[in-house]
Symmetry: D3
Subunit: 224 residues, 6 copies
């Protein structure tokens, strides 16, 4: 096993390199077992952000195409809408993980009830479908959106204050005992939010990368 490197490929299905870097940073403190390598990529043809059902659908085929063209030992779809996960699981020989699914399951593994900090109100119904399909709706404390304009989102300090404000509402009004940052871009805020609010905060990219890493120990073989 040691002689052969195993690659976990994390694809950001939007075209914003900054989001990819955000995920890379969020995973920087993770260690991988000997022989496992973490590779990040950005889907050049993706939209700048994935905010609508159209964005989601438009990256399904390119995401899996990218995976097929860049074979790895495990795949992570780096968008909280998990676009292409069903197709990846049907076509790829190696295990595939969505960061939303993994984050929700990591929250569940921690006990208690989780709150999700969403970027936009409109993505909440997508989140709910994922949670429902996982049978975890009764552990959802709440799902609240930042509802910031583009300019405000670019202002990191302001964004962080808003994430903390929303997280506090989830904790105090909705009873969340653990928070999920419901977007691949918020990894940088994770530690600050946790320090400020005193509840565990889950970065979805981390959660998925660790599931992928676990799936490769022992070495994952092709599933017939």
């Amino acid at each position: 096993m040691a002689e052969q490197t195993q690659r976990i490929l994390v694809l950001n299905p939007n075209s914003s390199g900054a989001v990819t870097e955000s995920m890379r940073a969020a995973c920087a403190d993770l260690a991988l077992p000997a022989g496992q390598e973490l590779v990040f990529a950005t889907l050049a043809e993706g939209p700048p952000g994935i905010e609508t059902q159209r964005h989601v659908e438009s990256v399904v085929l390119p995401t899996v195409a990218y995976f097929l063209a860049h074979p790895a030992d495990a795949y992570v779809i780096g968008c909280f809408s998990d676009p292409g996960l069903l197709l990846a699981r049907e076509e790829l020989d190696a295990p595939s993980f969505g960061i939303a699914e993994s984050a929700i399951l990591a929250a569940t593994a921690q006990g208690g009830r989780f709150g999700i900090v969403a970027i936009k109100e409109s993505s909440i119904r997508r989140h709910k479908r994922t949670i429902g399909a996982l049978g975890a709706l009764d552990r959802l404390a709440g799902n609240r959106a930042l509802d910031l304009g583009v300019q405000e989102l670019l202002d990191q300090e302001r964004s962080l204050r808003r994430v903390i404000e929303i997280g506090r509402q989830l904790r105090d009004e909705d009873g969340a005992t653990v928070l999920i940052l419901g977007c691949a871009t918020m990894g940088a805020y994770c530690a600050h939010v946790q320090a400020e609010l005193g509840v565990p905060v889950i970065d979805p990219a981390q959660a998925a990368v660790l599931q992928a890493s676990r799936a490769l120990v022992p070495p994952q073989r092709k599933v017939s």
Copy 2:
């Protein structure tokens, strides 16, 4: 963060050092982020194995007592019945994980439906309560017991053949696309079973350790 070591304490609540070693071996190939340390311990006052509800109940208080006496940054209860998990979550300042819960959630993160290889028929109803509380019963393909006598279990070769036989039934007759070894003692078989059956096999200790590791990145602070 690097200057201060974070410890993940995995406690085997039975008194069999061999089981503890089995978990240690199963996690040997895992890497931990810089500053994270994995510590294994055996509960001296535990029974040799945890096979009945009495065994489960008898280790609840000693397990949490051990944790209280050996503070760590995250706790893993290394028995597939997750004894003491509710109490640990109520009393400990750091996050606590059960290997059954974490394994079931890791199986879910992989998609498809899971089968559980149990040691004994009588533990299946305990497994079902855990799965039900996680809302995952509809992803349970099957739960089958090895039903081997003590002598046969000591015979590793024979045990492995039986695990593979049961795993094959779960895969072929019950439709499982991923297997969980439903005991802390079967880690050694994980790679063999996966190689033989061509489906992902989840070692529960690995699954829980990785959840604990994730919970410590960023550094976990006391939850008030």
Copy 3:
């Protein structure tokens, strides 16, 4: 209302005109209220048949693009995997219906438990996701596939015999009191199967067209 025609557009998202004609024939005996018009179309760029998750995903954007380019008062997606339904509902000003959803709900409206005659084994898990999302899994008596080769499917007489054989199993072994033909292509068999087996048989295209027609009485206005 009478002065202005309302169009229900049924799109076959595969490129086989024969399938489109099959749906048209299945709906021929339906009447539409005065002022409603039923239009059928074939998605030229679709695959000849929709049999895999890739086929499903590949027609999502073209299906909605077709609808956007051919505005109607209600839209029906004529494939039992309901490809593009979520996107259509987010983007189109008029109501959108999937033939799988509508068929399952029509079966439910009839009371009892339903059986689905699928073309291929591999589509059954897609059906189950749809049924689960509708909360109707407890009314599913069974889901069985014809499992015929291409040549056999072209042989209509042979296909019909097989549909009846599978329908009989669903009725007698699974306890189905109503059958759904789980494909847009089987409309021609509907009456024969019903006559032979004596249980109601639901053609999914009919079911969706009638839901669309109902949604237009009274005249559907743009939902803001």
Copy 4:
């Protein structure tokens, strides 16, 4: 098929001819396939309205008796409590539909979440039982009653204003994306409410008649 007329019998199980006429008007714009005929009837021995559990129970036997004495090819029970539906399905050779069941399923076919405009607070628990039995409680946005006195209900203009007021609350406060008028008597308001609120409004009589019509294409044979 064309040579033999098929009758869909819609029975209003209360004795108010005005309610029967309201359903007839609501279905006037529907078209039936060649050979299908829609017949409306009023249950002379029914109470003037069906507002209590006693009213419901008191019309169960008379409703089915009426159907047995007036054989048809499909039966619709024209009251939002679906009285007698279980008995009809056990005794009648032809398919039977309840307007509540059909309306709830039509709302589901449209996607989103539905709100129900009830006449009286006390009927809401009956509605909930029906919705629960259909597995659709998670798509119920809300259920609100008009709570008008008899005199106010007779004042059509006032009633319509109240229906719109309640519908607006269901849309804006409860998040309903589609409305169901939870009574056979409100068909006349359907178009106005839809025009005013910009969300689809489902008339339950229409919904059931269309399910019945669909069940007769192809011609329904006796289910052994």
Copy 5:
């Protein structure tokens, strides 16, 4: 409390006095608190047995009429289809119990999973609706019918043998750990079946009478 007798009225809604006597005998060994009195009655206008949905519906109004004419402090509907329970709860000032509901809940209170011995195959779907409405379907081990002809049912020895045979199947093949005799007439067999099969056997009349008795301690007052 002692100075005023409280009456629990158990009505057999069929006209067979033998069934009433069977319930009286089944409850003979029960004790009532001081001041509570158990009264049995037979619904003269009921059918000889309640075997079809028509039988059920036909006794709904007479059952509640009997209760209204014979006021008591608690009411028990002595038929395993619980006819009239919804109406009784809406109209009566005192609490009402169905023997099916009470038996299913008593089985649940005992832990494990229950099996139901039904008289006829056709009543099983009625049982399932009751169980489903109580949220107890996952504790149903099985539901099997005696399927005896009238002559055979009159032969008590033969009936008992058949009840034991069916009970054994429920225990051994379906995994039932407690049995419910799914009819008011089988009380006489209760002790024999329990002695023979070694699993608890629940008589539904007993279960309901005890719930009624409990509801009267402390003295039940009119619920406004």
Copy 6:
């Protein structure tokens, strides 16, 4: 049966004799069938009250040990957290009942939705787990805590006023139609609360004793 006394042993797993007496008083008005005897006991080594998960876990083994040392024909665990119920059911030859389970099922048998008056906020999550495992969450109207200090709880008049206040909120704001006093100590208030609020009030000790009593008629034999 009459010649041999059957004992129902109710164990208060906390060491407060006053709580045991409270249960004895609550059951004083119950009658037992001839030959049944009700015995109350106090677990000397229990904590003064059971308020935390630690209290619960700490009495699991002593509770079952007490039962093993004092064999009876049926066992009742007299604490609303049902400590040791799983173990009792696995080890004891006679049926075991928890007062929380029995109270929740008695509330269900009464129809409508129940509210629970809890002593402390922290016990509510334990209650919810029990309710969830029984499949009864949809019948839970609300769960509210008295939140009184020790001194206030000792003041019976003040406690009663608070129980009534909370019960009124459950009835009026949460829609409860039946109340459960969620603690073994509140039996004395039962009649007063019921008289004051006009809704049925369930004492959990009574509910469990009656289930135990029912299980002994006919005489309970050892379940193999």
